[in-house]
Structures are given as structure tokens and as C-alpha cells.
């Protein structure tokens, strides 16, 4: 009894540094954020804030800017996650061949993981440039230009996010493919299953843990997208071009409009959405996941 007490106090002592760091940099700001949401802040630091209670939450949630942002966010996620996952799966299947030099392709396919958002944004921005770009040269040249056009801008930044997510998605899928139990595939083959049947009936169900993990990570990645929008669209044009996704709206509210109250409300919404989404994913999607090795 005494010994276990000593052991547990030692455990708490060892945990203390980590807890202190988390407390100061994560838990305190997290709680402070809820308090901030109740205050209306001045446009400049150093001036008094006013307590407005939940009315700020109400007015933000009722604003057209917020609704627009919410719609843009979901459209963005719906474009990025499935395209990124299916693209990664297709590349992984293509690269899952025992051929000489395949590792070169694996390197190429996974390289987007290590390319910086800024570089990707500039490269794609050049491709979409109305004067020197490739897309306008191919005839995709709307007025106003792609990146200032309310119809085109969101798919354009989503395309960059998909391209960037392909690498991670490829790695997850490749790892999944490589860990598939050979005997199951062998048995299916003996039973006379063809290529498509094998893929849809055997490979995909066995890959479901990887797919599920990819959906969760991809969703978080999509919600986190920021760099492409900041570099190619900018805070002034984000609302007009419907690219003001929630995370960018938080940044905009905070850094450009100097409005921590608005930013606090928005980040609580973002947090809630992600929490609910993840819980839903675990509750409903995980049921359909087949864990072969467990």
C-alpha cells in the first residue's frame, strides 16, 4: 500500500513537467478561449473590452459571413478528402507491383508530403495565372481570373490541398496494402476471384482500417488548410471568393480585424465541429471497419 502510494506519487512527479507545459500552453488557453467569447474586444489592444455574454456567440452564429464560411468549409472538405483518398489509393495500388524501379515511383508519389505549402501554392498560382498560366492557356480562363472568381477560387485551392494530401494518403494506403495477409488473397485467388472482385471484395475491406484512418486524418488536414488560401487569395478577397474557410476566418478575425472575441467564437465552433465529426466517424464508420490482425 505504502509502496504503491510512493510509486504513484513518483509517477505524478514525472508527469508534472508535461502537465505544466500542457496546462500553460494548451489547457489554459483552451479554457480562456471560452471566456474570451463572452467579451466584445476593441479594435486595438490597450482599450477596454466589454462583457456581452452569449449575445456575441448569437450574433456570430447568425451572421451571413459565418454561414458562408461554414458552407465553404464543408465544400472544401468534401472536395479534398474523397479525392485525396481515392487518388492515394489508386497510386498505391499502381505502385504495389513487384517491378524494378518501383521505389522511384513510390518516392515521387509520396514527395508531396515534404513539399511546403508555400511552394505548392506559388507553383499552382503560377499555373493559374491569367497572363502566364497553363490553365488559361488551355482555355480555362474565366473573368474574373480563377483565383479572384467566386465560382473557381475554392475548387482551385482545394486542388492544391488534394495534391498535397495525395502523398500522405499514398503512404497510408501503401502501408495498408503491404500489411494485407497474403493467405487471404491467395485463398480468394484459388476461389477464382478476378481482379475487380479481388479489389472490391477483398482488398478494400481489408484496407478499411487504413481508409478509416485516412478519412480521419484527411478531414483534419482539410479543416486545417490555411497556407494556400493566405498566399493565393489573401484576407481581403477571401470572403468575396468564398474561400473564407473556418480556420482562415479565425485567423482573419484575429490578425486582420483584431477581434479576439469573434475569433474565440469561431474557434469554439471549429472545435465542436471537429469533435462531433470525429465522434461520428468513430461511432458509425468504425463499425464498418474490418480489423484483420486484431
Amino acid at each position: 500500500m505504502r509502496r504503491s502510494l510512493r510509486e504513484s506519487s513518483l509517477a505524478y512527479l514525472l508527469l508534472l513537467p508535461a502537465l505544466a507545459i500542457f496546462g500553460v500552453f494548451t489547457f489554459y488557453p483552451f479554457l480562456e478561449n471560452f471566456r474570451l467569447a463572452l467579451y466584445e474586444n476593441p479594435p486595438f489592444p490597450g482599450l477596454p473590452s466589454h462583457y456581452v455574454g452569449l449575445s456575441q456567440v448569437g450574433s456570430v452564429l447568425g451572421s451571413t459571413g459565418f454561414h458562408q464560411s461554414l458552407v465553404s468549409t464543408f465544400l472544401f472538405v468534401i472536395m479534398v478528402v474523397p479525392c485525396g483518398l481515392l487518388g492515394g489509393l489508386a497510386l498505391a495500388v499502381a505502385a504495389h507491383q513487384k517491378l524494378a524501379g518501383m521505389s522511384i515511383y513510390r518516392t515521387i508519389f509520396s514527395s508531396t508530403v515534404v513539399s511546403s505549402v508555400a511552394v505548392a501554392a506559388v507553383v499552382f498560382g503560377t499555373l493559374m495565372d491569367p497572363v502566364v498560366g497553363l490553365l488559361p492557356w488551355l482555355g480555362i480562363n474565366p473573368t474574373p481570373p480563377i483565383l479572384s472568381n467566386p465560382t473557381w477560387a475554392l475548387p482551385a485551392v482545394a486542388l492544391i490541398a488534394i495534391w498535397q494530401f495525395l502523398g500522405l494518403s499514398f503512404i497510408i494506403m501503401t502501408a495498408g496494402l503491404q500489411s494485407l495477409p497474403e493467405e487471404v488473397l491467395e485463398a480468394a485467388r484459388l476461389d477464382g476471384a478476378g481482379g475487380w472482385t479481388m479489389f472490391w471484395r477483398i482488398t478494400v475491406p481489408l484496407l478499411s482500417p487504413s481508409l478509416f484512418f485516412g478519412v480521419v486524418v484527411g478531414t483534419i488536414y482539410a479543416f486545417q488548410s490555411f497556407g494556400q488560401i493566405d498566399i493565393l487569395i489573401g484576407p481581403q478577397n477571401a470572403a468575396f471568393t468564398h474561400t473564407n474557410v473556418l480556420l482562415y476566418y479565425v485567423y482573419n478575425a484575429l490578425s486582420v480585424q483584431n477581434n479576439p472575441g469573434l475569433a474565440a467564437v469561431l474557434s469554439i465552433v471549429l472545435f465542436t465541429i471537429l469533435l462531433v465529426l470525429t465522434l461520428v466517424q468513430f461511432r458509425f464508420l468504425e463499425r464498418r471497419v474490418h480489423y484483420a490482425s486484431d
Binding site: 479594435p43 482599450l47 477596454p48
Partner: protein, 471 residues
């Protein structure tokens, strides 16, 4: 599989946490103290003379490239000319950077003694409570302002107080390609003088196979069209006799301006580009490439444009510069200024405030303004500067540099032509640009777009006023 579940949950929490962290870390909290601007500030020579040894002050400037060099030379000249004040020049390279750092300085105390701040932040600078009302210095030093161009002074005068001294002032002007005018059968000696003439000329140019108009979506131009008609942008005399609480532009005059622009765009005689980001110079570059034959942009770009043309890259362009086309014929107002002023921190010691004023008045003296204008293309702000041999010679050899000066001294000096002062001006400009862009996409009629601009601007203004505690 528990680890994966844990990883995904942790990622979610981490993201949610980092977003909330982002919001929390720059909070100003609720317990911040109220700082009142030093209304009874004394800004006079006594404070400076009482100081022992040279007073060192920091100057945050917003100019870049060639302009920054001219400013650095002027600063060195000032430092060498006397021993009481020493100026450290801190290059912030853009108005946005300077303003962002001033805002950061309000919480961490790192503020400059003098800052070059853009016109749209005038109300904001006053509301921070961190800047000295320079009227105190004008009074304390018995400084004479009669030599200054009245509209340049008026642009930074609020409630009859000269909050800041103008420094880098420009105006919007019409740039056009004389060769394209000739080819289209138009006389390059008579460029469009009104908005409707500009619309008609854009059509003629386009029909003749020349480029039409490159229209940058800069609401500064809309404001200037209102000013030429002697119409206000916001209430309380453009915010000059009381805090602006709503826009004043939801009028048939604004409908007319929007409608003429829309006519030009929907007919394909004009192509628009954003005033922000990478596309900001597409209108000017388009004139160079022959895509456009006309555009409106700041007179401060003239130096850069002329040096680009001098490289011979654009052999088909013969540049013309004309005054800003007024909204209507026989306009009763005038072109409003644009640019930046020199603000003095009220958080500095009295000796530094007086030293800062010494430096501000040096940059605004006859010789400095002549040097600055000749080196950059900004408007010389004093009549005496305009009469110096430097400027007279410049204008004789290169009359295009005189266009912005002439239009700023011409026309009426009214509250309308003094331009507007309001909180969240940048956001209001974005709202106006958004309404214009929506109209150009064919989604709103011109008058509906004006109403849309007015409604969103009013919401922004009242939200700002409420946050500042003046709602």
C-alpha cells in the same frame, strides 16, 4: 488499434486546441486599462531644450525601394544638420507592416516615436490613444501652415485639429497609351475628362481593335468620383466634424457611377483586376502589353512606370497622363488626396515628442518636400516647394509629374474633397470592392450593388464604433 483511435482523437483535440490557442494568445483581455490621449499635452521647444545631450528617436517608415533611399538620405541630412536630435530610421517597407507593428506595440510597448501611417488608418490611429494630436505642436511651436496645400492638410484634420502632418501624398490619375488613342482615331491631346467620356473612349478603343480599359477594383477611385461631385462618403461631413456613424453614399449619384462602370465592364470594354495581392498591377502591366489602352492608378506609380518604359521593353506604348476623369461635367468638388502622414507617439517623453516634431517639420520643409517629390513622384505639399528650381525644372522637362499637383490645388476645398475619415476604413473599402465585383459578375444591378455596399459598410462602421465604446 487503440493507438490509432488515440492518435486521431489527439489530432482533433490538438487542432481544436491550436485554433483556440490562436484566439487566446493575442487577447487583450477584459481588464486592460483605459489610456486617454494626452489632451493637455505640451509639445514645445522648452521640452527639447531642457534635455541634456542629443535626443534619440525612432522613426518607422513605410516606403520601400527607391522611395526608401530618398527618405534615408533626408534622414541623414537631418541628423547631420543639427546636434539636438538623432533619428534612427526603421524600415517597415509597407503601410500594412507599419500598422500591424504599431498594433502589436500597443500591447508590448514597442512603439516608435514617429510613424508613417496610411490615410485609411487615420481614425484608427486617433482611437488607439497612442498618438499625439499634432495640433498641440503647431500651437506650442507657433508653426505656420499657410504655405501647405489646403487639401493635403485637410485630409488629416479631424474636428479642426491637425492630428498628423501630411508627408507622402498622391492622387489617382489617368494613364493612357497615346499610340492606341491615335490608332483608334481619338486625339491623345484630349483624353477623357469625365467618367462618361472615359466609358465612350473605352468603347471606341476596343472597337478599333485597341485594348480597352484596365479597371483596378480600388474603391479609392469611387471615393474620388464622389469627391469630384462634392458628395460625401460618410456622414458628419465625412467624419470631419463628428465620428462617422453611417455611409452617405447610398444616392443616385453613386448609382450613376456604378452604372457607368458596369456598362463599360459588361460591354467588354473594360477588364477588372483586384487591387490586392499578385493581381494588383495587372492593369498597369496590361497597358504595357497592349492589352489595355487606359487605366486609373496612383500618381505615385509614375516614377516606376517611366523608368520601366525607359528600358525599351514596351516599344508600342507612348505614355499619356491626364487628370482623374471627374464623375460629371462641370464638377463642383475636387480630387481627394491619398497617401500617408507622420504621426507622433503620445507614449514618448515630452523631449522625444518635441524632437519628433522637429524631425516632422524638417521632412515637411520647403527643401525636403521638393527633394522628396522629385525623387519619388509624390506631390510637393508646399507652394514654396513647388516653386523651387528642383520642382520647376522637373515639371518643365517632365510635365506628367505636375498632373497630380495641379488637380490637388484645383477644385473646391470642401469636406467632400478632403476625403473621409472613419473606423475600419479598409474593411469598408473591401465591402465596396466586393459590391462592385458582384455587380460586374452580373449578380446585382448597379443600384442594388450600391445598396449592398452601403449596408455592409454601415454594419462594419457601427460594429467598429461599438467595439471602440462609441456605439
Amino acid at each position: 488499434m487503440r493507438t490509432r483511435r488515440f492518435t486521431a482523437l489527439t489530432l482533433t483535440l490538438a487542432l481544436g486546441g491550436s485554433a483556440t490557442l490562436l484566439a487566446a494568445c493575442s487577447s487583450s483581455g477584459s481588464s486592460s486599462s483605459t489610456t486617454t490621449p494626452s489632451a493637455t499635452a505640451t509639445c514645445n521647444a522648452t521640452a527639447l531644450n531642457a534635455a541634456t545631450g542629443p535626443v534619440t528617436i525612432n522613426f518607422w517608415e513605410s516606403a520601400a525601394r527607391a522611395n526608401a533611399t530618398v527618405l534615408a538620405n533626408l534622414t541623414n541630412q537631418f541628423n547631420a544638420s543639427q546636434t539636438k536630435v538623432h533619428v534612427n530610421l526603421v524600415v517597415q517597407t509597407s503601410y500594412a507592416d507599419t500598422w500591424q507593428k504599431v498594433k502589436a506595440g500597443l500591447s508590448n510597448g514597442q512603439l516608435p516615436d514617429v510613424a508613417q501611417i496610411q490615410d485609411t488608418d487615420t481614425q484608427g490611429a486617433i482611437d488607439t490613444g497612442a498618438f499625439l494630436n499634432e495640433q498641440n505642436c503647431i500651437n506650442g511651436f507657433s508653426y505656420q501652415t499657410s504655405d501647405f496645400l489646403p487639401r493635403a492638410l485637410a485630409y488629416w484634420s479631424v474636428n479642426h485639429q491637425q492630428w498628423a502632418m501630411p508627408f507622402a501624398v498622391s492622387g489617382p490619375v489617368l494613364y493612357f497609351n497615346q499610340n492606341a488613342f491615335t490608332k483608334a482615331g481619338l486625339n491623345p491631346a484630349t483624353p477623357p475628362a469625365t467618367l462618361s467620356q472615359m466609358v465612350a473612349d473605352a468603347k471606341t478603343l476596343k472597337t478599333a481593335g485597341q485594348g480597352g480599359m484596365g479597371l483596378v477594383l480600388d474603391p479609392w477611385h469611387f471615393e474620388t468620383w464622389l469627391a469630384t461631385e462634392n458628395d460625401l462618403l460618410v456622414n458628419h461631413n465625412n467624419g470631419r466634424t463628428g465620428r462617422a456613424t453611417a455611409v452617405a453614399f447610398n444616392t443616385p449619384a453613386a448609382d450613376q457611377i456604378f452604372s457607368e462602370l458596369n456598362q463599360m465592364v459588361s460591354a467588354g470594354d473594360a477588364t477588372t483586376n483586384s487591387a490586392q495581392g499578385a493581381a494588383a498591377f495587372d492593369n498597369l502591366l496590361g497597358v504595357g502589353s497592349g492589352k489595355y489602352s487606359m487605366t486609373i492608378d496612383t500618381s505615385a506609380a509614375l516614377g516606376t512606370i517611366q523608368s520601366l518604359l525607359a528600358t525599351g521593353q514596351y516599344p508600342n506604348v507612348k505614355l499619356g497622363v491626364a487628370p482623374f476623369p471627374t464623375a460629371v461635367a462641370n464638377a463642383t468638388g475636387g480630387v481627394q488626396p491619398g497617401g500617408s502622414a507622420l504621426w507622433i507617439s503620445s507614449k514618448s517623453s515630452p523631449a522625444k515628442e518635441a524632437a519628433a516634431w522637429e524631425f516632422v517639420t524638417f521632412l515637411d520643409n520647403t527643401a525636403s518636400q521638393a527633394t522628396w517629390a522629385a525623387g519619388t513622384g509624390y506631390i510637393p505639399l508646399r507652394t514654396s516647394s513647388a516653386n523651387t528650381p528642383t520642382i520647376q525644372k522637373l515639371w518643365a522637362t517632365n510635365p506628367q509629374f505636375k498632373v497630380a499637383y495641379t488637380q490637388l490645388v484645383g477644385g473646391a476645398a470642401t469636406y467632400a474633397s478632403a476625403g473621409a475619415v472613419l473606423g475600419s476604413f479598409d474593411d469598408v473599402r473591401t465591402a465596396i470592392a466586393t459590391a462592385e465585383a458582384t455587380m460586374f459578375l452580373g449578380k446585382e444591378s448597379p443600384s442594388a450593388a450600391v445598396t449592398m455596399a452601403a449596408n455592409s459598410s454601415n454594419a462594419l462602421i457601427s460594429n467598429y464604433n461599438q467595439r471602440i465604446g462609441q456605439g
